[in-house]
Symmetry: C2
Subunit: 211 residues, 2 copies
């Protein structure tokens, strides 16, 4: 049975070599190349064309994300698994935008790393559990911001009043504006949320975390 051909990219020689030893001990894998920075990685990957690339993020000259972005310009199908210590959102989102097939932390157990590499090789996208949690948080935040950006501040105020069951007249009184102004805001809310009436708007707003 064919071994999965791997290239390891990491600027720390000890870590890289240690990881290579570990992987070579596993009958499923064959390490066919290595690189200490992004520039070198691009050359090695283009020449060897491995099944999977293990790619660190924090590296000199060209970091892992820039490396991946450059790689994707040439090869959209190369499987790349980020293997990094970084849990900060910018790195995580940057790697995803650049097209990473997986994102795994260096605290991962060898056995878990083995399964992860096999999963990526099989075509799946894989994240470390802590990373999954961060990604879900990032999606939640991003989508909530996007939802919130759909409406103006005033429209959100009006929507909250609607959610409390207030009538047009009551809302006008609370916000010190005319009923006609309230109606205009409501019209824009219905248009932007693509609903037909205020009940639907309130239900959708609850779902969009706008209240």
């Amino acid at each position: 049975m064919n071994r999965v051909r791997i290239v390891v990219v990491d600027d720390h020689a000890l870590f890289r070599r240690g990881l290579i030893s570990l992987l070579e001990e596993m009958p499923e894998f064959h390490v066919v190349g290595e690189a200490a920075n992004g520039q070198e990685a691009l050359t090695v990957i283009e020449r060897i064309r491995p099944d999977v690339v293990l790619l660190d993020i924090n590296m000199p000259i060209l970091d892992g994300i820039q490396t991946l972005a450059a790689l994707r310009k040439k090869d959209a199908s190369q499987k790349v698994l980020m293997l990094t210590i970084s849990q900060n959102d910018d790195d995580l989102i940057g790697a995803i935008v650049a097209g990473a097939n997986g994102y795994v932390l260096k605290n991962t157990e060898p056995d878990t790393l083995k399964n992860t590499i096999l999963q990526v090789h099989a075509g799946n996208s894989v994240l470390s559990p802590e990373v999954t949690a961060r990604v879900l948080q990032a999606v939640r935040r991003s989508q909530t911001d996007r939802n919130r950006g759909l409406l103006s501040e005033r429209e959100i105020e009006v929507l909250k009043c609607l959610a409390r069951g207030q009538t047009t007249a009551q809302i006008a009184s609370v916000l010190f504006i005319s009923e006609n102004t309230v109606k205009t805001h409501i019209r824009h809310i219905l248009e932007k949320m693509e609903v037909n009436n205020r009940a639907e708007a309130v239900a959708k707003a609850a779902q969009m975390d706008l209240l």
Copy 2:
């Protein structure tokens, strides 16, 4: 050792009962309640307070996402694992925004479901492999849209010209505007991207998938 206390919420009686049988056969779990719709689920969950809730999405009266949104208003810490057939992005993003701790497809093997429930119970966020891929795609798309929204259409045009190595004069000629206008666009690009010169801007744009 304590068994994980589970509530199963699904409108299809046969599926729900079958799943309950399956889970009861596993020594790690104890099914302490069940519900056939979201309304009922809210009542059952509040009364029983299980360790983990398995929650379908497509249900009558109150779907799984609305149920979860309502539940989160009362209990931010309840572990909820979506168990659904749906792979569409709106459901997926909706569940995440509503605060799901995990999202698993109904084609999951029983053993994998077991591990997933244990992971969620342990505090981790878990996704099915196919779902992970979709989430990564959604993040990529969302972030690219957000990046794109940072600059106006014209600024993006100018940035693309810069990426081709064109000078201010060349860009002016290509876009039929004056060199001074090109410079103003570039100034705004540098400001918005928080970089110091056009080389940095191009590098960052590549990373942000703006080219």
